[in-house]
């Protein structure tokens, strides 16, 4: 059975093709690109990817305008039905702005855009996004953003930790993110948001192939379901 994914495209998305290539390369998946003004998603999907980039130029607040686009209504509805949703970088910001993940992403503490390879500790390997990581303690992916500093109020943060929602933590915090959070999942376990880019780490030639197991995890989860 072919793995089917949709990659959303907003004005200013710039990792949309990267996400498509990553899904094609790692799990031989079939990928549809879905325009932000569409109101419906293709049928038979296994995954919705909200890609990185600068939707609406990052103006006002990163992800704010994209979170209000027509397609996000459909994504919310699908997520409620249990569909897997992966938001990377700007996609993570959009998920927070849309209220599909808790917290918000603030300016990096150094107030600068930072692009560098980064080591991530896998905190929860039981999710449908991480089950293929085996015993790997940490993985490398590159990160590139200006607003990756995760913030949540005390109660929310406690809630996140108590529910084991932190999926990836920075080995070395690059941006002031609370509790070193690099990626987190919703309570239901089907919506993952992360700042680092698995879509730029799917082949050794790119410096790391550690993003591969993330996509393979989803295929594995489907097969065992």
């Amino acid at each position: 059975m072919t793995f089917k994914a949709a990659v959303l495209v907003f004005p200013g998305s710039n990792c949309d093709r990267d996400c498509k290539t990553a899904v094609e390369t790692t799990v031989n998946g079939k990928v549809d690109m879905v325009w932000h003004e569409d109101t419906t998603l293709p049928s038979g999907l296994d995954l919705i990817v909200i890609p990185g980039g600068f939707s609406y130029g990052d103006y006002l607040r990163c992800g704010a305008m994209a979170s209000l686009s027509p397609i996000m209504q459909a994504v919310k509805a699908e997520a409620e039905r249990g569909m897997s949703v992966l938001g990377i970088c700007n996609g993570f910001q959009i998920l927070c702005e849309a209220g599909m993940l808790p917290g918000a992403l603030l300016r990096n503490s150094a107030l600068k855009y930072v692009c560098k390879p980064i080591e991530l500790k896998i905190e929860n390997r039981k999710t449908r996004f991480t089950n293929a990581y085996g015993n790997a303690q940490s993985v490398w992916m590159t990160q590139g953003n200006g607003d990756g500093n995760f913030f949540a109020d005390e109660a929310t943060l406690k809630d996140i930790e108590d529910n084991n929602q932190v999926v990836f933590r920075y080995a070395e915090n690059p941006n002031g993110s609370m509790n070193d959070i690099a990626g987190l999942i919703n309570k239901k376990g089907n919506v993952l948001g992360m700042m680092p880019h698995p879509d730029r780490a799917f082949e050794d030639a790119l410096g790391s192939a550690d993003g591969g197991p993330l996509f393979r995890s989803l295929v594995g989860a489907l097969q065992s379901a």
Binding site: R17, C115, K116, R200, L206
Partner: protein, 571 residues
């Protein structure tokens, strides 16, 4: 008008040529058009004669200098389109916006020809690190370059950065863009036939960057602040939309000719498209999308607002255009038509505000053979004359030099990985950046090089050296060097000594290019880089592109193992 011509930067004899040709005085708008077209920036009047020395052809050259960017063949029906351009002066005035709009401008030169930009480079020269202005300039320039390229989503993979007192009052910001296209789908600027619609699309036109000259003749009033010439502000988000819309419009088959609006956008784009096609063009300026109220024809024609394009569509394809522009949220309007008049005619508020024959704008364009003297050249240093040094002290001195210091702080602000095809970048220690040709085993290697101190010591040898270093950096990663672009940054060509530097550096570069079969396919000249009469060190930056047929064969330190033999090649 003669006085105004001077204010607009035209020399008295240049103005006389205009009078003779027109047989009348030009009006304000016409004078503006002439002043732009005959500026150093657009006409290359001081350098054109010498640029002819560059070899510009070769088996892989599809299009050499003269278009928006150079085009080379990279096999399998694919082409690489690239160019380098300076934004020195604007970056000194407003470092963030100056550098950002420099990156935006060079990207437009590349996608205008049908290529998707896939890599960016930047060559930066700042003053001394402890000069009071340097810190702010470095901060601003670097975040401007990153802010623009990162947002558009094109990786910045390589560059160079020098510090020298000679740039204290005049920094250099040279940006290069490399793009990828199908070799049979390259777009050019010449209007192919009369009767075609001229479409403006992109951002609205404001009063950005209109040269201050007019303000001198405007009375000061309440709203004089509003009328002041303003710095161009870049909108990378608009640029991203413009790239997607332009490439989609091209793919739809609607485009007959296209040109981005660079410096003095509407003037140079419309004059060049009609002029190159041997046609005429009429524009109705009332139709131009405007950001501000009460703009004059002069202001519209000279505005340097960013992120704008001018396209000539095939007959009846306006609707295709509007559908695509609407999808990408861009302003657009049919603002005119091509015709056989041979003139550029501008209408504004029901009046003809400009009617100029196009041919003289290029035929009569000034071309100067500026007097020059053989520039000062240091005598070669013989090996035997170099006193013995304590090697440890020498090493310390070298590694503590700002030019050699790590540039991590700088390139960490650049997205080097977006597009997921980057094989090497500023962080990997390779001699050139490498990006894959998406979906193939091929890769492009890119580098930018110049050692101003060598050019200063001996312009001819320094020019040769810049080309040779670029060549070596490409071969060192396993790529076949194909062609170069260049950015000639010098002081005033009106000084014979500086002109001598220009001439001899070009001679040296041309010699190296011939020797290495390394043609020049595009370039840019930036003159008058001086403060208080002191010119910058001569800086002819070379940007080069090479091809790897199989990127698994690339070379780098990652293949170095203990026990391997070290070989020194060369003299």
């Amino acid at each position: 008008m003669a006085q105004k011509a001077l204010e607009y930067g035209l020399k008295a004899d240049e103005y006389q040529v205009i009078l003779n040709r027109l047989g009348r005085e030009p009006n304000d708008v016409e004078l503006g058009v002439y002043s732009v077209m005959w500026s150093e920036h657009c006409s290359y009047k001081s350098s054109r004669l010498h640029l002819r020395k560059f070899p510009v052809t070769g088996p892989r050259v599809i299009c050499g200098p003269g278009e928006n960017a150079g085009v080379i063949d990279i096999d399998d029906g694919q082409a690489c389109i690239f160019k380098m351009e300076s934004h020195n002066h604007p970056s000194f005035i407003e470092p963030y916006q100056g550098a950002a709009t420099g990156v935006g401008g060079i990207m437009r030169d590349v996608f205008t020809m049908g290529a998707r930009p896939i890599a960016l480079l930047n060559a930066l020269r700042f003053g001394e690190p402890d000069h009071p202005k340097t810190r702010r300039l470095v901060e601003g320039v670097v975040s401007g370059i990153g802010g623009y390229g990162n947002c558009v989503g094109v990786p910045t993979v390589a560059g160079e950065t020098n510090f020298h007192a000679g740039y204290n009052g005049n920094i250099l910001v040279n940006a290069m863009c490399v793009g990828l296209a199908d070799a049979d789908k390259i777009f050019y600027s010449a209007a192919p036939e009369p009767g075609l619609p001229v479409v403006y699309f992109g951002s609205k036109t404001g009063r950005d960057g209109i040269h201050g000259a007019t303000m001198a003749s405007v009375e000061f009033s309440e709203d004089s602040e509003e009328k002041r010439p303003t710095v161009q502000v870049g909108d990378p988000f608009a640029e991203k939309l413009l790239i997607e819309a332009t490439l989609e419009l091209m793919a739809s088959g609607a485009v007959a000719a296209i040109q981005d609006m660079g410096a003095a956008g509407l003037t140079s784009s419309s004059v060049e498209m009609a002029g190159k096609g041997g046609l005429g063009i009429t524009l109705n300026l009332d139709k131009v999308p405007q950001r501000e109220t009460n703009m004059t024809a002069y202001e519209m024609m000279l505005s340097e607002s960013q992120e704008r394009m001018l396209a000539i569509l095939k007959p009846g394809r306006e609707e295709d255009g509007y559908r695509i522009f609407k999808k990408w949220g861009l302003d657009a309007a049919v603002i005119g038509e091509t015709n056989t008049s041979g003139n550029i005619v501008l209408l504004h508020k029901g009046e003809v505000v400009c009617d100029l024959p196009l041919a003289p704008l290029s035929d009569d364009a000034p071309l100067y053979d500026r007097p020059w003297v053989e520039p000062h050249a240091e005598a070669p240093i013989s090996h035997a004359d170099v006193p013995a040094h304590d090697l440890n002290a020498a090493l310390l001195k070298v590694i503590s030099c700002p030019d050699e210091a790590s540039k991590r702080w700088l390139w960490e602000q650049y997205d080097r990985h977006v597009m997921a095809d980057t094989l090497s970048d500023s962080s990997t220690g390779h001699d050139a950046g490498m990006v894959r040709v998406h979906g193939t085993k091929k890769a492009l290697a890119v580098t930018s090089d110049c050692t101003p101190r060598y050019v200063q010591a001996n312009p001819y040898e320094g020019g040769k050296q810049a080309v040779a270093e670029a060549w070596r950096n490409l071969t060192a990663v396993g790529a076949e060097p194909i062609a170069i672009t260049d950015n000639l940054n010098f002081g005033s060509p009106e000084k014979p000594e500086t002109m001598g530097q220009i001439v001899r550096a070009i001679d040296g570069m041309a010699e190296a290019c011939r020797e290495l079969d390394f043609p020049v396919v595009s370039g840019n000249v930036s003159l008058y880089n001086e403060t208080n009469g002191i010119s910058i060190p001569p800086t002819p930056t070379v940007g080069a592109v090479g091809l790897l047929k199989d990127y698994d064969q690339r070379v780098g330190f990652n293949k170095v193992q203990p026990g391997q033999v070290i070989i020194l090649i060369g003299e």
